[in-house]
Amino acid sequence: MAAPIEVSGSDTEAQPESVLAGVDRKKIQGRSLGQIAWLRLKRDKVALTGAVVVLVLILIAIVGPYFVQDPLAYHQNLIDPTYNRPKGGFWHSGISADHPLGVEPGTGRDMLARIVHGARISLLVSFLATLMSVVIGTIMGITAGYFGGWVDYVISRAMDAFLAFPLLLFAIALVGVVADGAFGLSGNGLRVSVLVVVIGFFNWPYIGRIIRGQTLSLREREFVDAARSMGARNSYVLFKEILPNLVAPILVYSTLLIPTNILFEAALSFLGVGVIPPKPSWGGMLTLAVPIYSSDPMYMIIPGMAIFITVLAFNLFGDGLRDALDPRSR
């Protein structure tokens, strides 16, 4: 058996400090995972564009409604009474300096204002619903993955069951059942709450499955054993040791769940179970566009594009974030 190679004191000892003598010491810092992810994300122009659009949209949803016209005000003078559509403008959309996105056929309500107010509802519902899914999904997933055994079996089967539910139908039915005045809420407050709860509650298994899978591999790692051998309780291991390692997947899948939920909210509004008119919603506008798409194409295109751009921006950002945070991807 050869003796270990003697290195200490020899000429071959690595001396990085001397090599880098004179170089600013700050330049050889190690990079944290977060820094690497940020560097990668910065290089991904497509994802950055998505992120910028997302930020602008959030800003519009928050402050936009204070800057636009009243979305409920009628401008009948802009409507051609013969065809019941806006006078003039591109494709009879009524686009003018006063109404940059035109006016609604029939009523003459300002489209820009309706789109901006619609953005607020859309983002509010999808963010809150996503938050709910993420919280339930993370708790369920981490519990199932960490404890295993019958706990895992029960939760996994429950997730399977949820995935097999006709979500859209349940949502419609639920909104129909709690039609007006329940849980001390009424009108649009109730509608928004029901939308959030329905979308959020039925979507948690998507996150739950991912978190469970990650937890399964994390719990076998040495740092978990170390924490346990030092006498840490389950709750400590779960929330202080495992949860911080799950931040990346949680972040990525939240970003990717938001666009799904935006589409969901729009679909429910399209089917007439979203916020109650005259409160504007993107899906609701498209419902009104169905019978008149041939004579007023712009009325269909504007809310449709609003949904498309928003969802695409979130998807681009989410995809980029996933690639940046995944150490295996290059």
């Binding site: 069951a161 097999a164 539910f165 039915a173 709690v178 589409l263 729009a266 399209f270 089917l271 498309f308």
Partner: protein, 337 residues
């Protein structure tokens, strides 16, 4: 194999029980929880202008004053063995699986569901063929040509596809191919296959393509990701090393392994669509189950809504069962037992 099928069948029955429990909960337990009185719930099953007698009658017929557990038992019993409805001197027998009667049309719910099912099945199955063929082939080619212009273009189109609401693409395709260029008939022109096969086909082309575009985009992304992962596996290297032609490596080895997770998703998607493609049917005016659900909700026809929900959930469970059994056929690594 036999034991596996039996176990899966028991699982499917449990799933159906769970689905019926949730459906029942939504319609009978949740309203109570939300603070509605039994009179108000009963009123929902009577019609637009309920009389006091009608409400009392419905309450007794549906047993709304009973505890929720008893109600659920009755509801399950009706599904399994049927139920007799007393309407004055006459007794209506509703054979199993009894889902009650629509108070709009007074038709048995099951009959209406079976009446609407062919339209939905035509739409869903046709679209499934298109999206499986399109999505998987685009995904495979993208994975093999990773990083090329084709790959980038295909993935951008796919990402746009999953970001577009289906009713919007539906409307745009109607505006383009039915209104501007009159190649296909407009919405609401569906006729059953048995009545007029030509109109059936023409009216379904746009819905098929629209619906398939969304799913094809999703499947292309899934297939690409799956292929990229499997192409790095050791057994692919082994297959190449023993001199198999690349075509065999891709189709027989890589694609087969990639297909397993895609089949799971496919089972869920097809099952859900067979229970009613709500959005597509609304956009194109196809009189299927999804349309029925929406119309029933708008007219407050709760027994009908309950029926559609139950049928959809059942179709998902059944299709999933079939998909699980097909696993062994597609992926030789899966051993059932």
């Amino acid at each position: 194999m036999f034991a596996y099928i039996v176990r899966r069948l028991i699982g499917a029955v449990l799933m159906l029980l769970l689905v019926s429990l949730v459906t029942f909960g939504i319609f009978f337990w949740l309203p109570k929880l939300a603070g509605q009185t039994t009179d108000q719930i009963a009123a929902g099953y009577v019609g637009k202008a309920p009389t006091k007698e009608a409400i009392q009658d419905t309450k007794e017929r549906l047993g709304l004053d009973e505890p929720v557990v008893v109600q659920y038992g009755e509801y399950l019993k009706a599904l399994v063995v049927g139920k007799d409805y007393k309407a004055g001197p006459v007794t209506d027998h509703c054979p199993a699986p009894c889902m009650g009667f629509s108070f709009r049309s007074s038709q048995p719910v099951l009959e209406t569901l079976l009446d609407r099912a062919p339209a939905t099945a035509s739409l869903a199955l046709g679209a499934a063929v298109v999206w499986l063929a399109g999505g998987i082939s685009v995904g495979v080619i993208s994975a093999l040509k990773r990083g090329t212009l084709w790959d980038r273009a295909a993935m951008i189109i796919a990402l746009s596809g999953v970001s577009l609401p289906i009713y919007f693409t539906g409307l745009v395709s109607l505006a383009l191919f039915s209104y501007s260029i009159k190649i296909f008939p407009g919405g609401g022109s569906y006729l059953p296959l048995t009545t007029d096969p030509v109109t059936w086909f023409q009216s379904l082309v746009l819905p098929w393509v629209t619906l398939a575009f969304l799913y094809a985009a999703m499947y292309a992304r899934l297939t690409r990701a799956g292929m990229l992962e499997t192409m790095n596996e050791d057994y692919i290297r082994t297959a190449r090393a023993k001199g198999l032609p690349e075509k065999t490596v891709v189709t027989k080895h890589a694609l087969r392994a990639t297909l397993t997770p895609i089949m799971t998703v496919f089972g869920l998607d097809l099952g859900l669509l067979l229970g009613g493609a709500v959005l597509t049917e609304s956009t194109f005016g196809i009189p299927g189950l999804g349309r029925l659900a929406i119309d029933s909700i708008n007219t407050g026809d709760l027994p009908m809504v309950l029926g559609v929900t139950l049928i959809t959930a059942s179709s998902i469970v059944v299709i999933n069962l079939i998909v699980d059994l097909l696993y062994a056929v597609v992926d030789p690594r899966v051993r059932l037992g």
